[in-house]
Amino acid sequence: MEARDAIGASRATGAGIRPPRSLQAPSGRYGERAVEGLLALCAVLSIVTTTAIVISLLEPSIEFFREVPIRDFLFGTDWAPTFTPAEFGVLPIVLATMVTTFWGLLVAIPLGIGAAIYLSEYASPRVRKIVKPTLEVLAGVPTVAIGFFALFFLRPLLEDLLPFLPWSGPQAAGVAGLAVGLMIVPIIASLSEDAMSAVPMGLREAGYGLGATRMRVATRIVFPAALSGIVASIVLATSRAVGETMIVLLAAGASPNLTVGFTESVQTMTAFIGQTATGDIATGTITYYTIFAVGLLLFLMTLILNMISIRLVRRFHEAYE
């Protein structure tokens, strides 16, 4: 009643407008703020993870480089960290990583892009609706299964098909590389298909309007328009291939040879880490630090590749979205 009286009074006196109602929340909303803080904490955890990765790689690596000059590490051609006298030239295992990645990309780029062009430009919606999810499901095949397949199926098969190659021993860099290729095909196919599907219909229609064939539209219009997305998928797949462990551990072997041979057994960077860390090694020995030095190099290589891929994807999104 009092309030109504007050309004009546103000009307009566002609003072006009009632005092503006406060738009502030009735309470301090501390719960809201607490939840926001909690959520921000979750997000910050990812920064903590990265920092922890960098610290856990750097600290032992510094110890390592106190004993092994960085030049000897990067440019040495002998890798025998567990022998006496130990040799710490990283080139053989870096080269091995490059060789397996090379064979992997040689298989995966044509297969992946071919599959992507078919799915995006030729396949009927029904076919695409079945094949694309199948590829996505197959992208989840554990790499230890692919490694097993390479060692016990691909290796004998290739020896039967190509008996003139100098096969020796159960492991071969090339076979591991081909298996790595099998692993990354779904990545390239799926991401490239996404990139090509995002190319606006208008560009294709303009092409057909000018009398271009389907193949020309696919190769001269859609492919170049989606190129940055396609390259990004290849770069990401390269990063995966470089960091892949189980396939090369099973199928490429554990002998750090400085070689580019298809049939030779080699040890990649990841295989070295996996092999060495599995054994019982004492903390604080030079062998223990070696794991981290190689890990640091691996991390930097994949980091550069990932940054390139992220940049390319971003540029592609700016162009069409």
Partner: protein, 314 residues
């Protein structure tokens, strides 16, 4: 002529060009050369797709053929054995994987969804630190799994957390590994909820938290579930980081979460068997692969079905 000007001249030329192009097309159709080129191209594309699918199908079929003599329920209930591969099974390893995955679920779902909500609903994207978090998550998603193993070894097993080689340390390592995947999937699911839903909720006086809880999360749940299942299936098949954080030991009993007498997981056991010299162990490894593939492929298929089924068009 000058009175007509350049515009009329251009129109006339365009009309003539169009007419001749149309006539040429009507008269000749598609040249045979182009037809053949198109067919060959299509055949190559189909070959590429076929080879990719064939390779992956061969992998599955080869595992079934190699492991068929061991495929029975005993495989799931028998303990591991170094001496008699014929009666060995994966009971302990499967149990270890279940415990590992339970830990991954408990840790990644709240943290992953929380991060995604923060980045999509709260973070001010003009601030550099929020952009840094985004970029960081994208980067973490592509860090090789073995590097997470190194992190686990240096930070969780030893170093600051100093848990020792226990199953829980493996669980944390796998959680950190798949967390970026969960965050990215959850963000995409949240982003797919149209702004009008948010605005409507705000207009009715809901607070931000109420909007998130009652509007956005329910709408985003299928997408988030897909991301979580894919992440879990990845964690279930991951071997390399576990080798570094202690799962490499040979275990013939059911592991516990905090027990320090060793643990193992299904993919690690498969790897150990594949490395043995006797061929009987390879059969055992192949049979284990079949078990692992069935579980993982079923999980992935379900996740992708879920996404396609509940993909809402707003």
């Amino acid at each position: 002529m000058a009175a007509l000007g350049p515009r009329a001249e251009r129109t006339r030329l365009a009309a003539a060009g169009a007419r001749s192009a149309t006539e040429a097309a009507m008269l000749s159709g598609q040249p045979l050369k182009d037809v053949i080129k198109g067919r060959v191209f299509l055949a190559l594309l189909l070959a590429a797709l076929g080879l990719a699918l064939l390779g992956l199908a061969a992998l599955v079929i080869d595992a079934v053929i190699d492991g068929r003599s061991m495929l029975s329920l005993d495989l799931l209930t028998n303990s591991a054995s170094r001496i008699s591969p014929e009666t060995a099974g994966y009971a302990n390893a499967i149990y270890g994987t279940i415990l590992l995955i339970a830990g991954v679920l408990v840790m990644t779902v709240p943290i992953g969804v929380g991060s995604a909500i923060y980045l999509e609903e709260y973070a001010d994207r003009t601030k550099w630190w929020n952009r840094a978090i985004e970029l960081n998550v994208q980067n973490l998603a592509a860090v090789p799994s073995i590097v997470y193993g190194i992190l686990g070894l240096a930070f969780i097993v030893r170093g600051p957390l100093d848990l020792g080689f226990i199953l829980f340390a493996g669980s944390i390592t796998l959680s950190l590994l798949v967390l970026p995947t969960v965050i990215i999937a959850a963000r995409e699911a949240i982003r797919a909820v149209p702004p009008s839903i948010r605005e409507g909720s705000f207009a009715l006086g809901a607070t931000r938290l109420q909007t998130v809880r009652r509007q956005i999360l329910p709408a985003a749940i299928p997408g988030i579930a897909t991301g979580v299942i894919l992440a879990v299936s990845r964690a279930a098949g991951e071997t390399a980081p576990l080798l570094l954080v202690g799962a490499a030991t040979f275990v013939t009993f059911d592991p516990t979460v905090f027990g320090d007498n060793g643990y193992t997981a299904l993919p690690v056991m498969i790897f150990n068997n594949a490395k043995q010299a006797q061929p009987e162990f390879h059969v055992l490894a192949a049979a284990g692969i079949v078990v692992m593939l069935v579980v993982i492929l079923v999980m992935n298929s379900f996740a992708i079905w879920l996404r396609n089924r509940y993909e809402q068009k707003w």
